[in-house]
């Protein structure tokens, strides 16, 4: 693949990754957040595909295909099922930090990621390593979603956003982190989502709500 086309496609995939992270922060409807998350999964798979085509690595193609199936297919379906089970609470009505402030926080986090990733980029300047700040920003924004949202389901989305970012960092820094590692991580994530889904359902059964703040009290 020609070098400029590779750089262009890589940058586009990274841009889509970051845009999806910001959109999750922006929209309140959980259904939209899940759809955007599926889009981010597709962007992540595209990133893997672009790197695979550039390196000519079959293993990386397999990893990219796995990412596509898991993060753009399986996980969104699981989340949507959890959303359907959670009844009429389809909106993140009152996040701990309001939407405008959290969008500005996302901008600050992006700049922080840029500052933090500069030593890494300087080690081996290439189009792939230059995009590391974007992946780090996705990790930080995912973490931000995780700590500022109240609904259990949007916290799960935040967790998955963070994991998407970590996978992207892996793609961009090491290119080939090995099929076994990638499969291990993916299975872990799948398991975590399954457990969280069961937990959300149980929570709703006992409290009639999935607001995490209700879990503050300790009980015997």
């Amino acid at each position: 693949m020609a070098d400029t086309a590779f750089t262009q496609l890589l940058n586009l995939a990274c841009g889509a990754l970051l845009l999806c992270a910001v959109l999750v922060l922006w929209r309140r409807e959980l259904a939209v957040a899940i759809r955007v998350f599926a889009g981010q999964g597709a962007a992540l798979a595209a990133l893997g595909g672009v790197l695979a085509a550039h390196e000519g690595s079959v293993e990386l193609w397999v990893v990219a295909a796995g990412v596509l199936v898991l993060r753009a297919g399986l996980l969104p379906i699981l989340l949507r099922r959890a959303l359907a089970a959670s009844g009429d609470q389809r909106r993140e009505s009152r996040p701990l930090v309001n939407v405008s402030a959290s969008l500005l926080a996302a901008a600050a986090l992006t700049l922080l990621a840029y500052a933090a990733a500069r030593p890494l980029t300087r080690l081996a300047p290439s189009p792939a390593t230059q995009a590391i700040p974007v992946a780090l920003a996705v990790v930080l924004i995912g973490f931000f979603v995780l700590v500022t949202r109240r609904r259990a389901l949007s916290q799960v989305v935040g967790f998955l956003l963070m994991d998407n970012g970590i996978t992207a960092v892996g793609f961009l820094t090491a290119t080939d982190i090995g099929l076994i590692v990638e499969v291990g991580v993916s299975l872990d994530v799948l398991l975590a989502v399954l457990v969280l889904q069961v937990l959300t359902t149980r929570m709703r059964e006992s409290f009639g709500d999935t607001d995490i703040d209700d879990l503050r009290e300790l009980r015997e």
Binding site: N11, L19, S100, L103
Partner: protein
């Protein structure tokens, strides 16, 4: 200053003055048709302007010169921007004025003059409209600057003509993440800046929801005509700039009659297309609550900031 720039500086304001009421008429007509009404026709804003210009000048008692001069300032600033910005010809006849910062400053000066006039009338609606307009303006201007700045980073100049010329020579520039993010941010900002749905409803006169209309409520006759014309010109200039920053093809780069005619036809077609799209989308939108507007604009600011960041990161 080049011959092409001088011809552009003459043709562009004439085109904008003649065309902008037609653009407004067209958006209203499209909206009417989509809502199942017959509509007043594309020429109605021009007929309104002619009627208003024939009336006598009246100013409310107690208003000062601020109220009388605001329409002139508003019209003059937009006319200067229309002459300087790269709309039909890529080079500018009034060279330092087609800089990004100058254009934004001129547009803001016009809006502030109108807001001051709204305050000057001393009525409740004027003050309320001015306060709302300035709130929105304070959120819009940084985004506008940052979004165009993201485009100028790759070019190395804040001159709008240079940015358009660079996109013309290197079409790949248009599909970089920085450019795409900046495009989304700019669309939101232009919609807010020109007072269209979902930020402001241009057709409303309901006291609780007016923004722009509340400020100009006290104007009548030729003054009102000037304000309406300037608002329409503002809409067309911003739409034309938006079109040329991202889809510059067709703009005149040489001074030949054919190139100029092609340039005029291209910008008219582009703005008409965006105008129809804008009107069609507006049919499906409701006005946003005023307290939700900062959320929308904060989002577009973040997109603009990310555009700048990514133009440094991924360059």
């Amino acid at each position: 200053m080049t011959a092409l720039g001088v011809v552009g500086a003459v043709v562009q304001p004439l085109l904008v003055v003649a065309g902008s009421p037609l653009l407004v008429g067209m958006t209203r007509q499209v909206r009417a048709r989509l809502e199942g009404r017959v509509g007043a026709g594309v020429g109605q804003p021009w007929r309104d302007l002619r009627k208003l210009l024939g009336k006598e000048r009246i100013a409310p008692r107690g208003t000062s010169e601020v109220f009388r001069f605001a329409p002139l300032v508003l019209f003059a600033t937009v006319a200067v921007v229309a002459a300087a910005a790269p709309l039909v010809a890529v080079e500018s006849g009034v060279e330092p004025l087609d800089d990004l910062f100058t254009v934004v400053a001129l547009l803001t000066a016009g809006a502030v003059a109108l807001a001051l006039a709204g305050l000057d009338t001393g009525t409740a609606f004027g003050g309320m409209g001015a306060s709302r307009e300035l709130t929105i303006l304070a959120l819009v201007e940084p985004t506008l600057l940052v979004a165009v700045f993201a485009l100028s980073v790759g070019v190395g100049s804040t001159d709008l003509g240079s940015i358009v010329a660079a996109a013309l020579h290197d079409p790949v520039r248009v599909i970089t993440p920085a450019s795409l993010l900046a495009a989304v941010a700019l669309v939101i900002v232009v919609v807010a800046e020109t007072g269209r749905l979902p930020v402001d409803n241009p057709a409303t006169h309901l006291e609780l929801t007016m923004v722009h209309e509340a400020m100009v409520l006290e104007y009548a006759g030729p003054d009102l005509a000037l304000v309406e014309l300037a608002s329409a010109m503002r809409l067309s200039v911003l739409l034309a700039l938006l079109a040329n920053l991202f889809v510059p093809w067709g703009i005149a780069t040489t001074l030949t009659p054919l190139a100029m005619v092609l340039g005029v036809a291209a910008i008219v077609a582009k703005v008409a297309l965006i105008g129809v799209a804008l009107a069609a989308v507006e049919v499906f939108l409701a006005k946003l609550r005023l307290f939700r507007v900062p959320e929308l604009l904060a989002g577009s600011f973040v997109l603009a900031l990310l555009a700048v960041a990514s133009s440094y990161l991924l360059a």
